[in-house]
């Protein structure tokens, strides 16, 4: 076959492209410090900074572990480091999908099963309430990039607060953390030994209790004002939330303040009607967001209007849909009529 003469210059150009286009630049992932004042009394906190990625890899294999009655899956990573070797003793981890169709999903790691598994296999537990997916077909993670990340716990939170928290064996006198489950909260308080955490009516130590990334908490400082400092990596993928019907704690996943629109809190006309945000001009019938204001000691309530886009504060006529009132140093509660296990906050930058 003879090439037409006119094609030769283009062929030569193509041959030279690999050299001409060679890129000699690379940029690291962004890292950051988020320093928030924790006043005496009540205030909110979220944990959008990732201390470190313990392992980043591509999923080469994904199968149901075949444990009767349990939704436990085996993940094979395309990695020279074995997943088990990346796990530190006593630390809880989650596996976050950083690209692909499941980007942002967080899957709880079963550390015990991983340690006992065949080398190279990471075991995830979809039954764990902190997994954003409870059902997943075997093989669906294959080809996706994942990051193994350590969870925030009460002990890790304590380590990031200065001056040090002051414990007391009497709950009402101790520095405490309030975790919201549904419409109620559970108070965990630091004991006098400065190491163990308990809740009322229990002798269990909750120091290792996980605070998942999509949950904000309330801090109750009785020993004076503090600073909460988070240092580490910034999430570079979309953030998932497994939204339940009713009132629940939420977090934005990113360290910048964002608006309700950036949070994805609008009625999605394409999504199934029973999974999206519900707006109504009557506040009591609308989905809402509550953000704690430490200066007032109470929550400010916002609700989605009937047009499915406009957000107003209770008693106000101002549209706040583009207002960045979802701050990383606040506790956020959302009130939803519909559950949505595919809640998604797109990366806001």
């Amino acid at each position: 076959m003879k090439l037409p003469k006119s094609a030769i210059p283009w062929l030569l150009l193509c041959l030279s492209l690999p050299v001409l286009l060679a890129q000699g630049t690379a940029t690291s992932r962004a890292v950051g410090v988020l320093s928030t004042d924790v006043p005496t009394g009540l205030s909110g906190a979220q944990f959008p900074i990732i201390p470190t990625d313990s392992l980043i890899s591509l999923v080469a294999g994904h199968a149901d572990a075949g444990i009767a009655g349990k939704r436990v899956h085996n993940i094979v990573l395309m990695s020279s480091s074995t997943p088990a070797s990346a796990l530190a003793i006593g630390v809880s981890y989650y596996l976050e999908v950083t690209n692909g169709a499941l980007e942002g999903e967080r899957l709880e790691v079963d550390e015990v099963r991983t340690a006992a598994a065949t080398p190279g296999v990471l075991v995830i537990d979809l039954d764990d309430a902190n997994s954003t997916l409870q059902n997943m077909a075997a093989g669906s993670l294959v080809g996706m990039k994942v990051a193994l990340r350590p969870h925030m716990t009460l002990a890790r939170l304590q380590a990031r607060i200065t001056p040090a928290l002051v414990g007391n064996n009497t709950a009402a006198l101790a520095d405490s953390v309030l975790v919201f489950t549904s419409a109620s909260s559970v108070t965990y308080y630091l004991r006098s030994d400065g190491l163990t955490w308990r809740k009322a009516g229990s002798t269990t130590d909750f120091a290792g209790m996980v605070i998942p990334p999509d949950q904000s908490v309330m801090l109750q400082m009785r020993s004076g004002a503090k600073e909460l400092r988070q240092e580490g990596m910034i999430r570079a993928n979309a953030f998932r939330m497994n939204i339940k019907a009713g009132v629940q704690s939420a977090a934005t996943g990113f360290p910048d303040s964002i608006s309700p629109i950036e949070f994805g809190a609008t009625t999605n006309l394409i999504a199934p009607q029973l999974t999206t945000w519900v707006g109504n001009n009557q506040q009591s019938l609308a989905d809402g967001i509550m953000v704690f204001d430490p200066s007032k000691g109470s929550f400010v309530t916002y609700y989605l209007r009937g047009d499915g886009v406009t957000w107003r504060a209770s008693g106000s006529t101002v549209d706040l849909s583009a207002s960045k009132f979802l701050k990383p140093d606040s506790i956020i509660l959302i009130k939803r009529r519909n559950p949505d296990d595919k809640g998604l906050v797109p990366r806001p930058y």
Partner: protein, 314 residues
């Protein structure tokens, strides 16, 4: 006429690119004389010569390198012979695996140049004790000289100038030959924008930040090695943000690192390189990767500050 000119220019461009790609930049020559000569690590031939490096010589403490020896290629494959697991190791020149001699020259970094007399049973500059000596793989320059040692050719002694700041890049693709040899076994298969392990990081990124270009595992070089770390401290009443990042030891001389900061993750990002100072010496993570720490004073305590490291080929 115009069509002909376009054809000609494109042809020259392509041929020039291909020539540069396959032949490398023909700068720097070996200046030989009868018994000694100087090695220029920029010399594109160095790589070829490196193939002949440790030509066996299992039987004595001195050795002769014959670049014509067909077996020399096999030895070259082991040139970087890992040793990642320890910070030091012992080389016995009588050992059949004597290829690790290639990395041994770097222990002599104290002076600007040194001479190796291959006729000597106990070359003093190698810090030997009898036939064995110790190499500290934490030495940052340890690999730079590795590729030049084989420039011995026919002469019994040669001189290496350790001041040469330019790492060897024979095929002029922006990646040091040693690094390409170490991971790919040759210098021609990939260039700096290739991503053979498909992890989204180009060879240049893997080189600049010290990761393994053949494994889809960003933390292959040790815990958190890919992770750029940041922290905020108050030092003597001044708020200081510090940043540490990994890099391949060879990247120190062939990559420019700049630092950008922002008060919002959405930007804008500002080049603040001039405000950062390197803190202490780089800490070696293994034989080839080190972690560099830089710090920048701040006028006041920030509520949030973000940073990233940009690597650019020199």
């Amino acid at each position: 006429m115009r069509r002909k000119a376009t054809w000609g220019i494109l042809g020259l461009l392509a041929l020039g690119s291909l020539w540069a790609y396959y032949m490398g930049d023909q700068t720097g020559r070996v200046a030989e004389n009868a018994t000694a000569f100087t090695i220029d690590t920029r010399d594109p031939d160095s790589v070829v010569l490196a193939q002949s490096i440790a030509q066996g010589e299992e039987s004595s403490s001195s050795f002769v390198i014959d670049t014509r020896d067909p077996d020399s290629v096999v030895l070259a494959q082991s040139i970087a012979q890992g040793e990642e697991s320890t910070t030091s190791f012992v080389i016995d020149t009588r050992d059949p695996d004597s290829v690790v001699l290639a990395t041994s020259t770097a222990v002599v970094e104290e002076s600007a140049s040194f001479t190796i007399d291959t006729r000597s049973a106990d070359p003093p500059t190698w810090g030997e004790t009898s036939n064995a000596f110790t190499i500290d793989t934490r030495e940052a320059d340890a690999v730079v000289l590795a590729l030049s040692i084989a420039q011995v050719e026919e002469s019994p002694s040669f001189t290496i100038d350790t001041r040469d700041p330019l790492p060897l890049d024979s095929d002029n693709d922006g990646i040091h030959d040693f690094w390409e040899q170490m991971y790919f076994g040759n210098i021609f298969t990939y260039n700096l924008s290739s991503d053979p392990d498909g992890d989204g990081l180009s060879n240049f990124a893997e080189f600049a930040f010290g990761t393994n270009p053949t494994e889809y595992d960003d933390v292959a070089n040790g815990p958190s090695s890919i992770n750029v770390a940041i922290r905020l401290d108050q030092v003597g009443g001044v708020w200081v943000v510090s940043l540490s990042y990994p890099r391949h030891v060879l990247a120190a001389n062939s990559v420019t690192y700049t630092f950008e900061t922002a008060s919002s993750i959405a930007g804008p990002w500002t080049n603040t390189t001039a405000s950062w100072v390197e803190v202490g010496n780089p800490v070696t993570l293994n034989g080839y990767v080190e972690r560099v720490t830089v710090a920048m004073p701040l006028p006041s305590k920030p509520t949030q500050i973000y940073a990233r490291v940009q690597a650019t080929r020199k």
